[in-house]
Symmetry: C2
Subunit: 363 residues, 2 copies
């Protein structure tokens, strides 16, 4: 079966990542691990599972050479732990020598979702940027910009790119075309490539699998404009999606599916106890006897994103599997872990508000 990826479908879950790797020619990220001296939790645990051309990024990190980490954010509602993973990736790259570009995809959000630019701006700053800062993003070596306000050269670049893209090619990538889709796609390509306008520089774009069509289009265009701009084809990493609490997808429009970075202790407790899909047995007796299934247990899966200690995590896994750890106890571990994190984070968020103007230059 052909795997279909639609970057504008909301939050699809890809069950079979190996199929994706094979079908789209994505590399196994595990092959890159030996080249990275301080891999983050997501890299080590295979949550970042794929890549394109990551070797040039690993080399740049090792040799302390210049490179760019480029990402986009589409502001919508509250920032949750799925978004936190992306923020952590960004910050990891910044801490490992990258010049960071964060594009607020306000033009794309306006065109594809009809959101107002003013509202998007507010959410991007008050919700996303504030959380990014609290999570460790620094203003030095960081360009945080809105698509609607990017430089003239960047804007023009997205138009220039139309010269070497055909209609049928865009249709093959994006399905039924609309003027909105074409403008959004070309704008994203300019987002990824404009850091190279001055000088060619290796660039990595950490994405979810659904964004691979954009990556492929961008690499094709970079190649076609090699003569004019001498672009280096951008690299990418691919992460798995964090599943929603109920076992389905995590969605900004469904508060029961996620923990927001602004949720209270009480909300966290309620959401996990009430909604987190369990891999445990129906009764305590049965659980003690047969053990639980951590591979489908959402609380355990959630812990793989937030519990840094490999040994602790391994013990939780085996205890839950043996039945020594009950579902309620597992949930309590997760609740405590998250609330401890959120307590610190929410204090940092308050302080972060003072640092916003170091990122945003108002007209």
């Amino acid at each position: 079966m052909k795997v279909e990826l639609d970057p504008w479908a909301s939050g699809i879950r890809i069950e079979d990542y190996n199929k994706v790797i094979k079908e789209f020619g994505i590399g196994h990220f595990s092959d890159m691990l030996k080249r990275i001296s301080e891999p983050n939790l997501y890299m080590k645990r295979g949550i970042i599972y794929g890549h394109r051309d990551f070797k040039q990024i690993a080399d740049a990190i090792r040799k302390k050479e210049k490179y760019v980490m480029m990402t986009g954010l589409m502001p919508s509602g509250k920032m949750h732990f799925g978004h936190k993973m992306v923020a952590d990736e960004i910050i990891w790259f910044q801490n490992h020598g990258a010049k960071v570009y964060v594009a607020v995809a306000d033009i794309e959000a306006y065109l594809m979702r009809g959101s107002s630019l003013e509202e998007l701006r507010k959410v991007a700053i008050e919700e996303y940027l504030t959380n990014y800062i609290a999570l460790g993003l620094k203003p030095k070596n960081c360009v945080f910009y809105f698509q609607s306000e990017g430089s003239v050269k960047y804007q023009t670049l997205s138009k220039i790119f139309a010269k070497k893209v055909t209609f049928n090619e865009l249709k093959a990538i994006y399905g039924n075309l609309t003027p909105e889709k074409i403008i959004s796609a070309l704008t994203q390509v300019a987002d990824i490539l404009h850091p190279q306008l001055e000088n060619p520089i290796p660039t990595v774009v950490p994405v979810g699998t659904d964004q691979d069509p954009h990556i492929r289009l961008t690499r094709d265009i970079a190649y076609r404009f090699k003569k004019e701009y001498n672009f280096i084809l951008p690299s990418a990493t691919y992460h798995k999606f964090m599943g929603g609490l109920g076992g389905g997808k995590m969605s900004s429009s469904e508060p029961k599916s996620y923990i927001a970075l602004t949720d209270s202790h009480e909300e966290v407790k309620t959401k996990i106890n009430k909604y987190a899909f369990s891999g445990g047995q129906p009764t305590v007796e049965e659980h003690r006897k047969k053990g639980g299934n951590p591979d489908i247990d959402v609380s355990y899966q959630f812990l793989t994103f937030v519990e840094e200690d490999d040994n602790k995590l391994r013990k939780i896994y085996s205890d839950y599997k043996s039945g020594a750890l009950l579902t309620g106890e597992l949930k309590a571990i997760l609740i405590e872990k998250i609330n401890k994190f959120l307590e610190t984070h929410q204090k940092k968020r308050e302080k972060a508000k003072d640092k916003i103007d170091k990122f945003i230059i108002e007209d």
Copy 2:
């Protein structure tokens, strides 16, 4: 028969302007003449034959209220008398109170014709702008800009517009669509409407008939974004095309078809004597007897664009028709008229070069 207008076909000639007026709902410019106290030669002689919503412009001129004249130029080769007509129109509006915007359509020329942006820039300044200045364009109340360098708000506007344009609608207007056509079309719409970003203001766009699809699209989009931007639907005037010397179309790529504003006396003489299609009879005797046909005589048609004196022109018409004026004599009148104009113009051109930096702000 349906009249088809393709803004990207090069220099089509529309034989039946009344058909165009009827088919596309263009108004007769003659109805506007009574509202204009100092119509120019092109208006008086029906060379400017059509309009949309020109009343609001005539009112603005009469009441000395603010309005905008917006035009684009697509630099290609030498500037000839066909281009001069447009320049004269622009300057007439500037002299009658308009704030003038001249967009160099370099993005469009790059996308649709593959010209290099550097070369386009050179031609736009050294050929077009220099001639415009020599013809009387003044830096005050004039914004001369390149599509590739327009403000960020202008660039973004062209993307925003994608939200309320459908694919099928563009296809109906422009035929087979390509990404280039879509970007070019939306950029042109932004060219025409961005002068209203600060405040709604009546705007007139003088165009050839082939550009009417752009005007209609722009008016549709202006209407759809009324809530967001409060645009006033732009007005337009429509001029007939100046025919080529040989009787076909005047084309930048065919030097025998036009007189360039930089042609020498000798070139003018040779071109008119050799190539100008004649409405005369095969022999002098026959001509004296039957008379010539000024309505198809290119030299006479050319004079309607350059001889300001209505009485002189009327006499030439009747003398040629009666046979009193021979083709050679008619050509001599035209040659003298053009060479006299070019002698002064080319001196002004030299002086104009010093004024270029009042229009162009280099980075």
